[in-house]
């Protein structure tokens, strides 16, 4: 499970993440909802140990991100939206195998895992094709497979459907729900209300680096007396403009 405790990240004079705290349990999808530049990606990057927290910390299954970043990374898988970030000159299988090797998986496990992921994501047809020759949807599936090749307990998805077509978006949603069923701890950052509403068990609304409120959609509807998440979001963020 994931515990974020008073996490802040300051870049020179800009406070990108300001004293953010939330917990995500096993088998739970936590949605981090906010506008572009609200601090969602910085929060995920700090949890993933890519950035060092200015103050506060986060714990992944009891392991502190500040003191044991390398150990934390063994338990975390992160997927960024937009460009899939694959090595174009390597095949899909080679892209996945590279990351698997970096996670110290042995050759047999790598082979088995690639074959398993290829089936899960329907990549059999292009698993041996170079990543540079694939469509955006295919690339995103390959990036997904690569991000979870080491079967992490905690998954961080940063705008995972950004720039994808309808059927690719559905595949991504199906996969996230499948991960939840497998008991993974999931944080999904998005600015798409419908996506968050559909997938997330609880939501944290983030604005200008501050986590404004955390709760389930029903709790939000009751608390803010609004029928839709969009109205709730506008009410919350509008108050803080």
């Amino acid at each position: 499970m994931l515990k974020v405790k008073n996490l802040s990240k300051v870049f020179k004079e800009i406070t990108a993440v300001d004293n953010v705290s939330f917990d995500v349990g096993t088998g739970e999808i936590f949605g981090l909802l906010g506008e572009n530049g609200a601090g969602k990606t910085t929060t995920l990057r700090t949890i993933a140990t890519m950035l060092k927290a200015s103050t506060g910390t986060a714990e992944v299954y009891g392991i502190d991100v500040n003191s044991q970043p390398e150990k934390v990374r063994e338990h975390i898988g992160i997927l960024f939206g937009g460009e899939a970030g694959l090595y174009d000159r390597l095949t899909v299988a080679e892209n996945i195998a590279y990351f698997a090797e970096l996670y110290d998986m042995d050759k047999k496990s790598i082979k088995d895992r690639i074959s398993q992921l290829s089936k899960i994501f329907g990549m059999d047809e292009y698993i041996d094709r170079k990543a540079g020759k694939l469509s955006k949807g295919m690339k995103q599936k390959a990036a997904f497979a690569r991000a979870i090749v080491h079967n992490p307990d905690v998954m961080l998805f940063d705008e995972p459907t950004s720039g994808l077509d309808v059927s690719a978006i559905r595949d991504v949603h199906d996969f996230i729900e499948k991960c939840k069923k497998e008991g993974k701890t999931i944080v999904l950052s998005s600015h798409i209300m419908s996506e968050v509403e559909k997938l997330c068990d609880r939501i944290g609304i983030i604005h200008k680096g501050k986590l404004l409120d955390v709760g389930t959609i029903d709790e939000f509807k009751k608390k803010y007396r609004q029928d839709s998440l969009e109205e709730i979001f506008i009410q919350l963020v509008g108050d803080k403009q």
Partner: protein
Amino acid sequence: MKWKHVITVFKKEVKDIIRDKRTIITSIVAPMIIMPILLVLVGGGEAKLTKDINENVTIALTQNSNTSEIRSLVKDKIIANNKNIKLVEVSDPVEAIRQEKVRAVLDFEKDYAVKLKERVPFIIKVMYDKSKTKSDASFSIIQDAIRNFDADVVKQRIVDLKQNPEILTPTTVEENNVADKKQSGNMMLMMILPMLLGVLIAAGGIPAATDLVAGEKERNTFEPLLITKPSRLSLLLGKYLTVTLFSLVSVVSTIAGLVIGFLANPNSVSAGMGSQAGGFYMEPAALLLAIFTTILLGMTFAGIQIALSTYAKSFKEAQTYLSLLIFVVMIPAYATMFMQPADIQSYMFLLPVLNTIAAFKMVLGGVINYTNLILALASSILYVIASIVFAAWMFTKEKVLFRS
């Protein structure tokens, strides 16, 4: 840091670069093709030019000097012993030099015949164009011909005085070069090779270094890599070794190109060095030390290149920084191009780039000082460590990694 991770990154990067046709063509294939072509063309062109300069020396006489007596004097006495010099007729001699129809024009003093008879010096004015290579080079050939004529006249005068002409040459200089023939043969290489090595080793790793960090940032592959299990130092070292490998491969392919070019046209390397060139001999132990120093220079550059590529926000920015690095190398490389091994000061073996150039000059020149070679090696090791520390510092610094 785990060596297993370093090797995984290294293997992946090598595979990735090998599949990049552009890098392979510019770093490996092109030098192996371009160098031989360049050597054959340059060597062939130079040989053709030298032959033309020496064999087609055309001269003319000014209008005042264009008399049958002077023509006979020139033809039968001055240029008789040099069949490459030809006297031709032109209407406007000075213009003919400018238009390269003749190499030079001779103008004899009006009363030259009287002065010659009375054994008084007379003037032969040689007009030529210093701005034209062929005309300029022909001047000395014509001057030699006139000197030979002088010597013949003097000899005849001595004979006329019933003296032995040998009284004019009390000494005879005999040339005896005691240098090892193998050492003399390295003269041209001693000038070119160390300079070339310095520049090549700096340039060779640039495509890989640019691609491996700045390129990854631009293609969005860098962030997923940073959140994998390995430490940043492991990732850095894997990339660092790749850059080192490709800078060395680039040097080897260029040297291979030079060797092919030399085999295709042996005169290309000895251009301008005459008979001195021809042999290749290097002290094996000293050569080994110089090669290690060169590899260490490549490793030093790899560290600097990775650091600069890490600092760059984009591929283009990295290319700009890394290109500047070549100029930094070119300065010491060209400054020491004509330096002989005996001129190398001990402190040069302690300075980066210069130590490699100095070590190779020493080996190629056959003047071996092992203390200096070991100094070069030791100082190079320190520079490698410094460059890796610098690269690691840059690679782990958040402000540098995520400048954008």
